[in-house]
Subunit: 464 residues, 2 copies
């Protein structure tokens, strides 16, 4: 009989890898191209650049790229993995999992539980929670690790939502004795039936979503309130005292665009103020005029919003904004979005700083599914943490290795994606027909063709 | 601070509910209608009848029906639920979860983690595993229960695969101190990249899959072998001895059709024989001529197959066949398929029989994802078990309350589903325009309309 294995402790993230496309368009250029008022996408939404993929990248190629790279860079033995789950909303198939394609990376080890998880931008967080629970529940029998993959291509039909696109993929290794510990018992969720953003099947095939923008913003902010309140209830139940925003080194949010994160952070500060946990806040008298406002009214009222931004600004600049570089320069990535802030945080992480440091994370997916949870860094000098910092820094620096394209070129790429989606088969993506390597980073997987039975095949750009 | 809660034990299934459509067609009638040799669908595949839905049922209506019914029949407090996960491959949306629609059934309790899980027929098993792991990992903090929902409508384009359709939905309540305990540490998986069955997005929208039938049969049988071997390795590691098929009261298989289950069971007997764990087997000399056969050859060789069926038959009749009633009379249900055998087992369960009784379960989803695990019944006189038996018996008896239709009527219903999938919007399903209640059981949810934004709305047939 096997020697008993102790229950696992300090389960969390032990490795992280981030992939984003080599191509981007500047938001100032998009403003001109779309013929709208200058500053609408930049000052208005707070976005700087937007990454995009040619028609030979899809969710499977993204997931292959980031997972292969995670295994390679961290020298992870494929045999050490017992669970793998992919969170995505960029589906190319209604039945076959992206996860099944990733099995090609694991050789003889076919005993890897987990399939795909789907709910808009929330799927990645559910994949992470599943991975944490799988390790918690199965470590004593398996002593194996888990991987959560988040991958999406965010694109919109021509019009005012198109500037909120982006693309990316993140893979995290989950196991015990992790430097980034997911705190147990503190997860809070807010789940509801909402049609704020969805991708119905029916009629002509399309990669674009249906969007109710104002409902989506309101649903997001309401979810922040509900999750934060419930998070605190759970914390109080366990450690007898709550936590205000000041209890966290950094606060990371799902980021469809910068400005909504600013508003969301304002909600946390407003909640602290109303709970009376605001002795450390300055300027809270700005909230006075809105004392009688209903929650409902605060979601849309401009004056309230201005006041909330004003009160929260000094803390926003300190705890939120520094981690938004990748989000502002790549755009919305759907499932990887909030984890791109974790990557940015790690790139800037100072191991000399006192620990424990604590991060609060808010994840949101339209439809809707949302959650809040926290991560504790208990050992700043951990070698796994040092490796993650190195990889994260590399990801931030790689922003400069991208190719800038004109809005005209971007529009043409989008037109090619539309054509491919509705093409007869067999078909070779236009960008796989020539010049494949110029718009892909080394080590990137790409779609070589879709055969007569709509089977998709992939190849990899050499690493060197 | 909260009083510490002990780690949960005996986690498993505490309640089960099964829904299937009120309409069916006889396989003998389909044989005539399709103009093929008599017996091909009946004797050949082993199927008797096939259930089907009109165009006003979709995966969301199925999931609403079965989940509402689970809560209602077992008087489950919606506040007691902390996790809910839906496994399906009958997607109507690439982003919004079916789970979000189910939130309408839980009132103020919006703190219910979990979204949809997708990989062909395997999604339901992953939903169950997720639910078990969630309870295992979170019980001490939450003391709440989990629900796993499996729902699918299996339909095929006109031709020789159409007779392998079906439809159904199962919901299970998961928690500690369950009468049906999912044995910890014994789960084995076989996951691989296979294009045996899939539902690509692109071109014209369709509910029908792409199928490579012979690859799918071979992939399924290979998965049985791999999972059974690995299951035994894990059992031996923990309890120092393996288990042969004789160690189980019943063995339940994913069932696209009866005959493949017969073959799959033959693989287990063949594996027992080869491991030398066959002292209880008679007639094993039938395997002699195939001693030098490669595994590869045994998957397709007719003589081997005949011999395996011969040797395994007495045990098949005892341990497998009695639980296939619902599968033979409703057809393939995709994710709920193997759990329909659990329902049949429960309907026939004899509480006087000695416990522990043990069930072996094999789940398969094309693409591919598969797993084997076991359930132990340790207390036959448990009141939750008695309630499950009552509900299961009701489900089996309800087969007689269905309406038999002609193949012509079935073909017309399928044509209406095709029309709806490709219709301009807004649209009302043809079967919601009149005579709604005649082809739906009391308590069934149905699709009332798809609006101009492709938002789907539902209503419920009164219970009485």
């Amino acid at each position: 009989m096997a020697t008993p294995v102790l229950p696992p402790t300090a389960i969390g993230i032990k490795a992280i890898q981030f992939y984003y496309p080599k191509n981007f368009v500047a938001q100032v250029d998009l403003e001109k191209f779309d013929g709208i008022a200058p500053g609408k996408y930049t000052a208005g939404l707070g976005q700087i650049e937007m990454g995009f993929c040619y028609d030979n990248e899809d969710v499977t190629s993204l997931a292959l790229t980031v997972t292969h790279s995670l295994l390679e860079v961290y020298k992870i033995d494929p045999k050490s993995i017992g669970y793998l789950c992919v969170g995505t909303e960029t589906l190319t198939d209604k039945s076959k999992s992206v996860k099944t394609s990733l099995m090609d990376l694991f050789g003889d080890n076919t005993d890897i539980e987990g399939v795909d998880v789907k709910n808009a931008c929330f799927g990645g967080t559910q994949a992470l929670f599943n991975a944490v629970d799988w390790v918690t529940a199965n470590w004593q029998f398996q002593e194996r690790l888990a991987i959560a993959v988040m991958a999406d291509i965010a694109i919109y039909e021509p019009g005012n939502a198109r500037c909120t696109g982006g693309a990316g993929a993140i893979a995290v290794l989950v196991g015990p004795d992790a430097p980034l510990v997911i705190e147990r018992g503190f997860r809070s969720c807010h789940m509801a039936n909402s049609w704020d953003f969805y991708k119905p099947i029916g009629g002509e095939a399309s990669e674009y979503p249906k969007v109710n923008g104002s409902l989506s913003v309101k649903s997001y902010l309401e979810a922040v309130d509900k999750c934060y309140n419930l998070y605190n209830q759970k914390v109080i139940k366990q450690i007898n005292e709550g936590r205000d925003t000041n209890a966290f080194t950094a606060i990371l949010f799902h980021c469809p665009f910068y400005k909504i994160v600013q508003k969301a952070f304002g909600r946390l500060i407003y909640a602290d103020h109303r709970r009376g946990g605001d002795s450390w806040l300055t300027n809270t008298d700005e909230f006075e005029p809105f004392r009688e406002y209903s929650d409902e009214k605060t979601y849309t009222d401009r004056d309230f919003n201005t006041a909330a931004l004003q009160v929260s600004k000094p803390y926003f600049v300190q705890k939120v904004e520094p981690n938004m570089t990748l989000n502002q320069r790549i755009g919305n990535m759907y499932t990887p979005s909030v984890y791109a802030q974790l990557v940015t945080f790690l790139a800037k992480f100072d191991p000399i700083a006192a620990t424990p440091q604590r991060l609060l994370i808010f994840s949101y997916g339209s439809g809707l599914a949302s959650a809040m949870f926290s991560i504790e860094i208990s050992d700043a000098e951990n070698s796994e943490l040092a490796k993650m910092k190195e990889v994260a820094s590399g990801a931030v620096h790689r922003l400069e290795d991208r190719i800038q394209h004109s809005p005209e070129a971007y529009a043409e790429v989008m037109a090619n994606r539309e054509k491919l989606t509705n093409s007869d088969v067999p078909v070779i993506p236009s960008s796989s027909q020539n010049g494949i390597s110029s718009h892909l980073f080394p080590g990137t997987y790409y779609l070589t063709n879709i055969d007569v039975n709509r089977v998709r095949s992939y190849a990899r750009i050499p690493l060197h």
